[in-house]
Amino acid sequence: MFEYVWLIPLFPLIGVVINGLFGKKIKNETVIGGIAAGAVFGSFLVACGILFQLLSLPGEERHFEKTIFTWISSGNFKADIGFLIDPLSCLMLMVVTGIGFLIHLYSIGYMHGEEGFYRYFTYLNLFTFSMLLLVSGNNMLLMFVGWEGVGLCSYLLIGYYFHKKSAGDAGKKAFVMNRIGDFGFLLGLFTLYWYLGGTHNVWTINFRELASHADLIVPGAITTTVALCFFLGATGKSAQIPLYTWLPDAMEGPTPVSALIHAATMVTAGVYMIARMNFIYIKSPTALLVIACVGAATALFAATIGTAQNDIKRVLAYSTVSQLGYMFLAMGVGAFGAGVFHLMTHAFFKACLFLGSGSVIHAMHHALHHEHSDADPQDMRNMGALKAKMPVTFATFLLATIAIAGIPGFAGFFSKDEILWQAFSNPHHGSANMLLWGAGAVAAGLTAFYMFRLVFMTFFGKTRLSDKAFHHLHESPWVITVPLVCLAFLSVVGGWIGVPKVLGEVLGGMPNYFEHYLEPVFAYSTNYMLHGGHGAEHAHSIAMEWGLMGVSVLIACGGIALAWALYIVAPGFPEKFVSTFPVLHRAVYNKWYIDEIYDFAFVNPCKACGNFLWKGFDVVVVDGIVNGVASVVRGISGLLRHLQTGMVHNYAFSMALGVVVIVGVYLFR
C-alpha cells in the first residue's frame, strides 16, 4: 500500500483538472460535486490502507519514503518529488482526507444553486491537493509548495463572493499576512541549509536526512534563529499573535471553507511543521519559550475577544485562534504529541461547530428570505429557540460544544487537559510554567463561557425572529446533517485514543494509544531531554495531576454555569453589564482595536511609503529618465528631418554631388 501514496494527492488533482476545465460545461451540480467529493474519498481510502499497513509494522519500522522523481538537482542542492510516510504524516493524511471528504459532501448541499458552483469545487479540490502535498512531502521545499498552495486557495476561497468588497479585502488581507509568515519560513529554510551545509557539509532539506543529522544542530544563536524564523511562518499560517488578524476576517468565505481551511486543516499547518521539526526546536530553549508565551497569550487574548462577538462565525473564528494558541502552547512546552493530539480533536469538534453554524445560517437565510428581511442571518441576536426546529443540528452542535469546553469524557477534555498538565509540569521553562498554565486555564474557562453563550443565544430562549420567519425555519437536508453526525460522533469518542496515564490506570490499565503511536516521530526529542537536556526533571505527584485536572474541569463548569446564568436565567444582565462598563465592552467588542492599531502602525505607513515611491520616485525619476531620452531623440530627428524634402530632384542632386565628390577624391588625391 505504501507504494501507492502518490495516489493520495493525485485524486484531488484530477478533480481540479476535470472541474476546472470542463466544470462550466458540465453544469450538473451532482456530477461536479460527485467528482470532487469522490476524488477526496478515493484519497481517504488510500490513506486508510496506508494507516492499517503502518499499524501492522513494529514501532521503529514505521516510516517509508517514496521518491517519484528528482525535481531539482543543482550542485549540492537536491530536491525530490517524494512522499514521506510516518505516524505523523499518516495522521495528518487521515485528518485532511477524512474531514475533507465530509466537508466536500456537506458543500454539495450548502452551495446548492450558488453561482460558480464548479469554481468552488475546483478550489476546494486544489486546496485538498496542496494540503496533502504539505503534509506528505518528504522535503522542506515540497512542503513549501503545499504551504503556498494552501495559502493561494485560502485567498481564492475567502474571496469567493468577490463581488462583495469586504470579501475581496479579507482575501487580500489573508494573503498579505500569510506572505509575511512565508518570508520567515524561507529565511529559516535558507539559514538551516546554509548552516548545516556550511559548517558540517550536510547539504540537505530532506526531513529524514535532517532528522538523522539532528546531532549536528547544537544549541546556539543560529539554531534559535532558524527555529524562530520557522515559527514566524507558523504564526502567519496558523493565525497566532502577531499575525492572527486575517483569520476572523476570513469568515467572509463560504462556511464549509471556514470549517475545512480556517479551522480543521490549513491553520494547523504551522503546528504540523513545528512537530515535524521538533528536533530543531528541542535544541533551542529560547524559541520554545517564545512559542509557549505566544501560544498562551494567543489562547487567552482571542478567548477574551470571543466573549463579546455577535456574529456566530466570528465567535468560532476567535475560538479557532484561541485553540491554535493551545496547540502552540503544547509545542512550546515540548509536548509535541499533546499538541498534535489537540490538533486532531480540534479538527473534529471545530469542523462540526462550523458546519453546524453553516446549517444554522442556511436555515436563517431561507427564513429571512421568505420574509424579505435584510437582517443578518449570521447575527446571533436574530436567533434563539432554534433547537426545536433543527434537532439534528442542535444535538451535534451541543456535543461539539461540550467537547471544546473540556467536559470529561469528550474529545476536547483529554487533549486540552494533557496540554495544561504539560504546561504545568514541563522541565523547560521553570517558574514561567505557572503563568503558562494559568493563562491556559483562564482561557479554558473563557472558552466554555463563550461557546455556551453561543449555544444559549442560538438554540435556547425565545426566538427573536418574527412568527412568519420562524415558521419557515427547517432542518437541513441529509448531505448536511450526515457530516454533522459523523463529526459529532468523532468529537465524542475521538479523545479515548489518548487517555492520560493517570486516568488510564484508574480505567483498568488503558494505554495512551495516541502517544504511543506518535512516539517514533518524537523519539529524538524525548531522548535528548532524558540525556543531558536543559533543566532538571521535576518530580510531580500523581495527586498534583489529579488536582489540576479537577481544577480545569471546575473552571470549565464555571464558564458554562456563568453562561447559563447570564443568557438563560437573567437574560437582561449582559446589557446591564455593558452599560456599567461601556469602555471595556467597546474595547472587547472592537477586538481590542488591534486592526486599527495595525492600520496605524504598519498599513498606513506602508501605504504612505508606496505613495511616495509612486509619486516621488516612479513618476519623477523613472518616468523622467524615460521621457528625457525620448525627447532628446525627438529633438535631433526634428533637425535631421529637414533633409528629407520629399523632392525627387533634391535626392537626385545629392546623389550626383556624391558621385562628383567620390570621383574628385580619386582624381585629385
Binding site: Q644, G646, M647, H649, A652, A656
Partner: protein, 100 residues
C-alpha cells in the same frame, strides 16, 4: 578611324547633358529621356573601348544595357500612366507624399 578621344568627349558631353536634364527638368517623361541619354552615353563609351581594345566584351555589355533599358522603359512608362491617372499630372514636383 577617329581617335578614341573624340568618342569619349562626345560621350562625356552626352552624359553631362543627361545629368543636367535629370536634375533640372520637372516633366517625368523628359527626365526619363535624359536617363536614356545617360545610358546611351555609357553605351557609346563601351563600344568605343571595344573597338579600341579589339575585345568584344564591351559590346556584349551594351546588349545587356539596351535590354535593361527597354524593360525599364516599359516599367517606367507604366508607372507614369498610373501616376497620371491618379494625379492628372506627371510633374515630379507634385509627387511629394513622402514629405511631412
Amino acid at each position: 578611324m577617329l581617335a578614341i578621344d573624340n568618342y569619349l568627349i562626345l560621350s562625356a558631353i552626352m552624359f553631362a547633358i543627361g545629368t543636367v536634364g535629370v536634375l533640372t527638368k520637372r516633366n517625368a517623361i523628359v527626365i526619363f529621356m535624359c536617363i536614356e541619354l545617360m545610358l546611351n552615353a555609357v553605351n557609346l563609351t563601351f563600344i568605343a573601348f571595344s573597338r579600341y581594345l579589339g575585345n568584344l566584351d564591351g559590346q556584349v555589355f551594351v546588349f545587356f544595357v539596351m535590354t535593361v533599358a527597354a524593360a525599364e522603359a516599359a516599367v517606367g512608362l507604366a508607372l507614369m500612366i498610373a501616376l497620371y491617372k491618379n494625379r492628372e499630372s506627371i510633374d515630379v514636383e507634385d509627387v511629394n507624399l513622402m514629405k511631412l
